[in-house]
Symmetry: C2
Subunit: 507 residues, 2 copies
């Protein structure tokens, strides 16, 4: 290991393990973060200048190289983990007498860009902007930015929030503890994903292959936006996702609706009846066993209620008068698996419409799973339900024999992309992060029991068997995955503080 920073040299020469960091209060953390912030912002600017669309191998290579530098110069030992696709990189930094090993997950690649839709020269040329009195974003000169910034200014570039910003927050916090010769009392591992926006297809295999290298006591995900209120947030899980494609079959080819209306059964009606049979009028799944095993105790309900969701504002923003009645509030609703029709099609609508009885109807379903519901079990309960509705399952297309024999024909294809995970509030990692956050902000963090959306980190939880919690830091209105992605500078500063509090929170 090549030593680069004087702080590390000092701590090694003198054998002193300074560990006063954990006593820092909110004000001290604020001051240290504010001091490091301008340096971190310049490093972030440099990092964001490297294009990072994982579709392009040269983008991946340049980011791998840059990350290698970033971590090496802070005393990390880096290892490339080959995957068959873009590699993973594992950076490690140990301490003597470490009580735990904490594995941090960071994502380096970003969504593809359409430069024409960005209000700046390039998504890979970061700019800082301020909002004027009309709410319009105005670009600021970088020289002016160096003189001083305001919390509501934002840095605009691809990956500013998702998720290079959090990497620089973490590194800035490392720089702070190193400059003070403080050391965490745990070993640090950082796993870097260079293909997250492609759905991390090589991750499950790689986690199995590098099980030993990735071994840790807990798993911290430095990704995602804070709660919409922009209050400090901890997220304890994410729903999984499985998808199903259903296809019902009518006549072999579309038939004239005049000649055969009232005679040839219509596959669009068959599909409608099937979909209608899966849920009640209030959006609750009525397939037997679908919500089995989910029990939410009063204490948990209270934590869910304490999430500061303004549901009137959400409904207004989305444009709906009422919600599905799986529960009566947002946080409780997403504790249950969903069953969503994400696409539906039969023959043609609009200008292409024809007076026919269609030959088939297609429904695309997505099921968001929760830890209580094994995806395979849920999917089989849906399949069972379809069977009890009188359907005969076919492979791809019905054979002539099946057409002659069965009145209701359907094909059923499914796959599970990511599994759900959820870590208890009261686990060691949950308590440890909670304490760090409370110290950093002098207030209760918003605790999200499970996020509605799905993230591809389940292999860490399921294969490695370690509890995971997300520490989201960025503003929720960051235009993630869209043009003009940005990171609020106040969130960047708070993010440095968040990481500093975590690095100085002791076991």
């Amino acid at each position: 290991m090549k030593l680069k920073t004087t702080s590390l040299i000092c701590s090694l020469i003198f054998g002193i393990h300074l560990s006063f960091g954990q006593k820092l209060d909110k004000n001290q953390l604020d001051a240290l973060s504010a001091e490091q912030f301008p340096i971190a912002l310049q490093e972030l600017r440099e990092f964001l200048s490297i294009p990072n669309d994982a579709h392009y191998p040269d983008h991946v290579d340049k980011n791998v190289e840059f990350c290698d530098e970033l971590f090496k110069k802070r005393g990390f030992k880096n290892v490339i983990l080959t995957t068959g696709g873009p590699p993973l990189m594992l950076a490690s930094r140990n301490v003597k007498n470490a009580k735990r090993t904490v594995l941090f997950y960071i994502q380096v690649d970003g969504q593809p860009v359409d430069t024409s839709k960005w209000e700046q020269e390039s998504p890979y040329t970061p700019v800082v902007k301020m909002s004027d009195s009309q709410g319009k974003w105005k670009t600021l000169d970088w020289e002016k930015v160096k003189e001083g910034t305001e919390d509501d200014w934002r840095i605009f570039a691809r990956s500013a929030s998702d998720a290079k910003g959090p990497i620089n927050m973490f590194l800035a916090a490392i720089d702070i503890i190193d400059s003070k010769h403080w050391k965490p009392n745990y070993d640090i591992k950082v796993i870097m994903d260079f293909e997250e926006e492609l759905g991390s297809p090589h991750l499950p295999g790689a986690v199995k292959k590098y099980k030993d290298e990735l071994k840790a006591d807990m798993f911290v995900i430095l990704d995602g936006p804070r709660h919409i209120s922009n209050q400090p947030t901890l997220t304890f899980g994410a729903r999984g996702i499985s998808t199903i494609t259903l296809k019902t079959f009518g006549p072999r080819v579309p038939q004239h609706s005049g000649h055969y209306g009232n005679y040839v059964p219509n596959p669009a009606l068959t599909m409608s009846k099937l979909l209608a049979s899966m849920k009640d009028d209030h959006g609750r799944v009525i397939i037997p066993g679908y919500y089995d095993g989910i029990e939410i105790d009063d204490k948990t309900k209270e934590i869910l209620r304490n999430v500061p969701d303004d549901e009137n504002a959400i409904r207004k923003k989305i444009g709906i008068a009422a919600i599905d009645k799986v529960s009566d509030n947002y946080q409780e609703s997403i504790q249950y698996p969903s069953l969503n029709i994400r696409g539906l099609s039969s023959a043609w609508v609009g200008k292409k419409v024809r007076t026919i009885i269609p030959d088939e109807a297609i429904a695309e379903i997505d099921v968001r799973t929760v830890p209580e519901s094994d995806p395979e079990k849920l999917i089989q309960s849906i399949k069972k339900h379809i069977e009890t509705q009188g359907f005969h399952f076919v492979d791809e297309k019905p054979t002539e024999e099946e057409r002659a024999k069965y009145t209701k024909l359907i094909s059923f294809d499914y796959k599970t992309s990511y599994r759900a995970f959820r870590t208890d509030f009261n686990t060691e990692i949950g308590q440890w992060l909670y304490k760090a956050m409370k110290r950093a902000f002098d207030q209760e963090p918003v605790r999200i029991r499970i996020a509605g959306g799905s993230i591809p980190i389940s292999p860490f939880v399921t294969t490695l068997g370690i509890p995971a919690v997300s520490v989201p830091t960025v503003n929720s209105d960051n235009n993630q995955h869209s043009p003009n992605e940005n990171l609020r500078l106040g969130n960047f500063k708070d993010g440095i503080k968040t990481c500093l509090a975590i690095l100085t929170e002791r076991f």
Copy 2:
């Protein structure tokens, strides 16, 4: 009126109204038709050589001109009826002491062509083909055709069956009676439509405008294919068609199905439930009053049962194991109005699928109406049903106020294209045509009480108030509306005989 044929001159000079035609039996009619057939075939060949896509005004003009000649030289008096679009032409030929006036409808224009899909030089260059032992169509030299033909040979060209063929059948029958100095004891009017394949959009207005010119006691439609058994057929009506477009509304824009699955109501589910509520599991409409007024007595049921449908063969051809249970046979099923989902769409399926809750779902419906069911009443019963399902109707898109107030939002657009018509078997026209057909073929004609499909002639029935019956003559496997349209020569000959029997059937 310029007299052209010697037969007409004779009958006028001598004042002789020869009227022995009605005594002709099957064999005599066969002989006369067979004799006229080769001449008629050459005239058909010439007629089919004139392109007739109503999208092109020069096509229309050339056909109007040719028809004018065709009828003039047979002693008809022709009048052009302007419509604002392609004109109608009315040809009339009167007799002294006429007991009735019979209005014949013929269609001159044909479907658009895609020459590349025809197995001949041009759809407007007719060829005669015979089927070889492998069932392949082989083109014959016209010189060989002139030497003699077989009934199973076919003439291939656009409009051979739909519907220039029937025009030449009629004209050939006129030639036969004229050559024999026979006269019908009724006045003949022939209305020629040059835009039928466009849906005759100007016909309703024109029928109103030319009410007096079109006045008649009965209306004979020389169009459409015979029953699939190719037995002589009379069709006493056609279902009407109305269409409805339904659109249900969910979130203002599509929402992430992870964030909001279980929370934001899904418009594809709402649509599925609505469509499912309209029919039972056997395809029967369960909207109150939908089938009201339809009573089929035992005698009618017998006539329906006597139609030689091979329903096992139909189901096999279409590829279905069972039929909708509106009735237990085909003919009875189409006595009822239908309610068919002809198209369905929400968000995307297949490769374009996205994990979203869609913003809207669209269903395209067609309703085939019968005389007992006023289309407006039927449509209002559907609308009423939707209302009882708790929907609020919006214009095009919901306003912000509607989004905030109502949980189930839908738009409802409809139009009635053609109305249904049906003439009783026992009317004068029904009996008269039945007798003519029975004499011509020495067997009961297949009597279709109502055809499932819709034709744009309802203005004649509703505006003029005259009973109508179709006399279909062409083979049902004629590739109507498709490439390689054809007319079986045996059907052409039988068609001449059919027209001859009608022209010689007296009141």
